[in-house]
């Protein structure tokens, strides 16, 4: 696109609220190729000096039409596609999709499959939060946590690789249960990982929690109140950071989460620092759940009785899970054929990103980067 066209577009966006800019106001384009936007997010900032007066997100660069693809695939064929949405937490996507189709089919996965699902999903939450922490700290200027977190995430990915052969887009679950039985020594390795990662989480905290630069950059930045969170539909660590103790694993348990003991950490101020504390504590709680699940892993089948050709009865179902980013839901309409009539994904990143404008108003330009990081968005999921 020519420069002239970009500028006329910027002007059109900035004149959206007010026809003319004041003399000291300017419009600044950030992205889509910008290292701190975590992918291809373009933000058009309206500035007064260095203060952000408002901003507009331009998204859709990664739009692949996942929902349209779903209508042209069978239920089973579409399963691997969901991994490509939130690609740092592929296992959670698979869980949400499989559970929704199971609900349509009126099938429940066997207990052993549920435990395996919980173990892998929580491992993935750990890995997802590690990616978030590393990149978020890097955006703010702390380079060391990135090396720490990616080093430790490698151990989680090794378990995924051993379990199903893939590291990122795992396609670990099937409709009705799991495809693979656990490998020899799975329990031991997962327990070893838990023992390995707990002191590492303390290490991350040592680097950041009382670090003066970190405090300066995160305390009071990107504040959002609980009421605003609810109005904007922000879920996951964002709403918990603002002091609402709401977690779908507790509120509407699925996949046997009611059997495990864990706490839901919350913040008080709703700023970037509180969301950081919430996510770090969530990592510890995930380890706690994994330990219980491995210790109680029952024997038995890992697949429910599911027909070879899936034809769910006519009807529609919405089901959502607590993904690392927030409420991830699938709304599936079945017309009784082998292909879904409509699949709607309720993406947590997309809805949370909408809060960026109200969180950044009145902040400095440098804080926008911190707020994008603290929202923990994945553009693959925003654009689908």
């Amino acid at each position: 696109m020519s420069d002239a066209k970009i500028y006329s577009q910027l002007e059109a966006i900035s004149s959206h609220e007010k026809p003319f800019l004041d003399s000291n106001e300017m419009v600044l384009n950030m992205g889509p190729q910008h290292p701190s936007t975590h992918g291809v997010l373009r933000v058009v900032l309206k500035l007064d000096g260095e203060k952000v007066m408002g901003l507009e997100c331009v998204i859709g660069y990664l739009h692949r039409g996942v929902e349209k693809i779903a209508e042209n695939r069978t239920y089973v064929q579409f399963n691997p596609y969901v991994d490509r949405m939130d690609y740092v937490a592929a296992v959670s996507n698979g869980l949400a999709y499989c559970e929704t189709v199971e609900k349509l089919l009126n099938v429940v996965a066997p207990e052993r499959a549920q435990y395996i699902r919980v173990i892998l999903t929580e491992l993935n939450r750990l890995a997802s939060h590690q990616v978030w922490l590393g990149t978020h700290a890097l955006d703010i200027g702390a380079i060391t946590p990135l090396f720490y977190t990616f080093r430790d995430r490698e151990e989680v990915l090794k378990i995924f690789e051993k379990y199903c052969g893939a590291r990122l887009t795992t396609h670990a679950f099937r409709i009705g249960g799991c495809q693979y039985e656990t490998y020899e020594g799975f329990e031991k390795e997962v327990m070893k990982l838990c023992d390995f990662v707990m002191p590492k989480i303390d290490e991350y905290e040592e680097l950041l929690t009382t670090n003066r630069i970190w405090l300066e950059r995160t305390k009071g930045v990107g504040v959002i109140s609980a009421e605003q969170c609810i109005a904007l539909g922000a879920t996951g660590p964002v709403i918990r950071g603002s002091g609402v103790r709401w977690d779908l694993r507790k509120a509407q348990p699925y996949s046997g989460y009611e059997k495990f003991e864990f706490d839901v950490p919350i913040g008080t101020a709703g700023d970037t620092y509180d969301r950081y504390l919430v996510r770090v504590e969530e990592m510890r709680q995930s380890v706690r759940i994994i330990r219980q699940a491995v210790a109680g892993l029952p024997e038995g089948p890992i697949m429910a009785k599911v027909p070879k050709v899936l034809k769910p009865p006519v009807g529609e179902v919405y089901h959502s899970i607590e993904a690392p980013k927030g409420e991830l839901g699938f709304f599936i309409v079945s017309d009784g054929s082998t292909q879904p009539y409509r699949v709607r994904v309720r993406p947590p990143s997309f809805v949370n990103l909408q809060a960026l404008d109200s969180m950044c108003r009145g902040q400095l330009v440098a804080d926008v980067v911190a707020v994008i990081g603290t929202l923990d968005i994945v553009l693959g999921e925003v654009d689908r």
């Binding site: 998204i59 349209k68 539909g233 919405y318």
Partner: protein
């Protein structure tokens, strides 16, 4: 709650059903804003989870717009559905839940359904100026706006 809604709106509430333990009501499109307001204010559905649509080209009222609501207080979820004809508009819910802003924009982007009173009814995922609404059933999976691709990307085809 359903009895109360029926008492208030009579035949405007077309059906109220439960499927797989999930409740939904079908509402006439002229009443949908009143019903949503009442659900938010009196029944504590303070969180709008999702706004989406489904296209049924064979029906007379082709589009079904669906609101998925959740109540923090009562920990329940429900769906409100409303059908409209092609080209008809449906009232917005941005005045009730801010989150509906982007969600309704996505419905417009994908289905071409306009929401009356929406503050910013533009495309969100597809580029401005794109021709066609991809999630309509008549839109083919390989179909694209060739003209837009040629002018803006300078290539023959995006396929």
């Amino acid at each position: 709650m359903v009895a109360r809604l029926k008492g208030l709106y009579g035949s405007g509430i077309r059906e109220a059903l439960t499927y797989q333990g999930q409740n939904y009501i079908s509402v006439d499109s002229s009443l949908v804003h009143d019903v949503l307001t009442m659900l938010r204010d009196d029944e504590d559905f303070d969180y709008c989870v999702d706004v989406t649509a489904v296209h049924y080209p064979k029906k007379e009222e082709q589009f079904e717009v669906i609101w998925i609501l959740y109540s923090f207080k009562n920990n329940v979820r429900m769906r409100v559905k409303s059908s409209i004809k092609d080209g008809a508009e449906i009232p917005t819910s941005v005045d009730l839940w801010q989150t509906a802003n982007w969600l309704e924009r996505e419905v417009f982007d994908m289905f071409g359904i306009r929401f009356t009173g929406h503050p910013d009814m533009r495309r969100i995922l597809l580029p401005e100026g794109w021709n066609g609404y991809p999630l309509r059933k008549e839109y083919g999976i390989l179909q694209q706006d060739k003209e837009w691709v040629q002018i803006n990307l300078g290539i023959e085809s995006g396929q």
